[in-house]
Symmetry: C2
């Protein structure tokens, strides 16, 4: 793109506060962007900033023609209205795919969202590139967050899986999970999923990441997943680790979405 039209895609991140895992994610997005030649911009705001400050930062990226993707790093501090702020994000720059229009179009058959949320799309790519046919498979998603569980279930459904979502009110979640050909967990509960949750041969994708103190690690903590990896790996036919499983896929999909957005903006084909 740079060679043919002298333009590069731009990605902007707004980070509020200093939550450790958010810092990790943002760092990885920056490294990824620089590796592939995407201009990376960032606005860091303090934990106690006002809604206005976040909206202003967002608005200025909305209007900046060098920015093709904007990420409001979630979760936001409690005092900020996430729904309201996300609603201000220009649909054409919503590379996270969290705008209600994108989620609505993801949910509905025959519609095409402008962007598919990155983590769900990363999970699907892992399945497809591992040669797994999703159509007709029983898929269970653990957790129903707006940023992972919900869009993952909608996307699996688009790929014609038979999908069940497990959440806090689900009775006997282990029994339901044990029916799954494909189990995707995004609960944020360390070691929730042990071997009695798994059908032998199941495919397990672990999106859970909970930071735990560990002075021996580079940043003083490490991330652990939802799955008891060691025992699960003896039952599953395929399984992703934490870290190093879905995380890098999420970043890759984000860079992909940003590139697609820039192509649309520059009418570059």
């Amino acid at each position: 793109m740079k060679e043919s039209i002298g333009q590069v895609p731009g990605l902007a991140v707004i980070l509020v506060g200093q939550q450790r895992d958010s810092l990790t994610y943002v760092r990885n997005k920056k490294i990824g962007s620089e590796e592939v030649g995407i201009t990376f911009l960032m606005t860091m705001l303090p934990d106690n900033c006002t809604e206005n400050e976040v909206c202003n930062a967002l608005q200025s990226y909305n209007e900046n023609p060098s920015v093709h993707g904007i990420i409001l790093q979630l979760p936001l501090p409690q005092h900020l209205d996430e729904g309201k702020i996300l609603g201000l994000l220009t649909l054409e720059k919503d590379v996270d795919g969290f705008h209600p229009v994108n989620i609505g179009n993801l949910a509905m058959l025959g519609r095409e969202p402008l962007f598919i949320p990155c983590t769900p799309q990363g999970c699907i790519e892992l399945l497809i590139r591992s040669g797994i046919d999703i159509k007709g498979k029983k898929a269970v998603v653990v957790g129903r967050s707006n940023i992972v569980g919900l869009p993952t279930s909608l996307l699996l459904q688009r790929h014609h899986a038979t999908v069940t979502i497990i959440h806090a009110y689900t009775k006997n979640p282990d029994r339901i999970a044990r029916e799954a050909d494909i189990l995707i967990t995004a609960a944020g509960v360390p070691n929730l999923v042990c071997k009695n949750w798994l059908k032998p041969g199941a495919i397990v994708i672990d999106v859970g990441t909970t930071p735990v103190e560990d002075p021996e690690c580079e940043h003083g903590y490490r991330l652990i997943g939802d799955v008891c990896f060691e025992e699960a790996s003896k039952v599953a036919s395929a399984i992703t680790p934490v870290p190093g499983g879905v995380g890098p896929m999420t970043v890759a999909m984000l860079l992909h979405n940003t590139f697609e957005s820039a192509k649309r903006a520059f009418k570059f084909t």
Copy 2:
């Protein structure tokens, strides 16, 4: 409303073609509106009309301040782009709740759609008014259409059921259905669900309506559901008939949405 502010709600329906069940639905909406004092407007277009004609009709209702709810009666003939036309409908008058923004906000936790689709909301009302606690129940939805199956599954999830959607690619649908505490069918396949699909004591809501010729009926045909009613009624603890089950609830919810929309427009509380 008429007594206190001298205004009444208005509902407009756009009907393309003469599909029999659509005619039935529209007739019921007209009767319902007149019963409760909602002004009912209708535009009937021929089966072979152009997209422009539909869009113009829609646009004129969008701009008409006496209209608070607009219904584009679905399905449209194949040559019309349903997604595109629905996208033109003013969000504030989308009393069917099919706009992607409404579906997105229905799907996401912590967001509130302006309108909840009428048939799904009718099903939930039936459950609630029958004293059934949805939270934690296993719910299975048969069919994933944008107008019934999908929004019903999203709404059940909002009420904290554990939801599975069965569709054309689902393997062993009877086995999955047999796990359901609440089974809602909207497949449009007559007699698909027989007693071996049901757990004893299950609650069954039949949204399926397929018209079949019957010269003895008033309009030359009758509607039949997805469920083998007679045998299912011996297994289920509660079951809705077709016709006369969900249909009247759909109309009631539509009138409710239209009234709510008019209240918002007139700032009437």
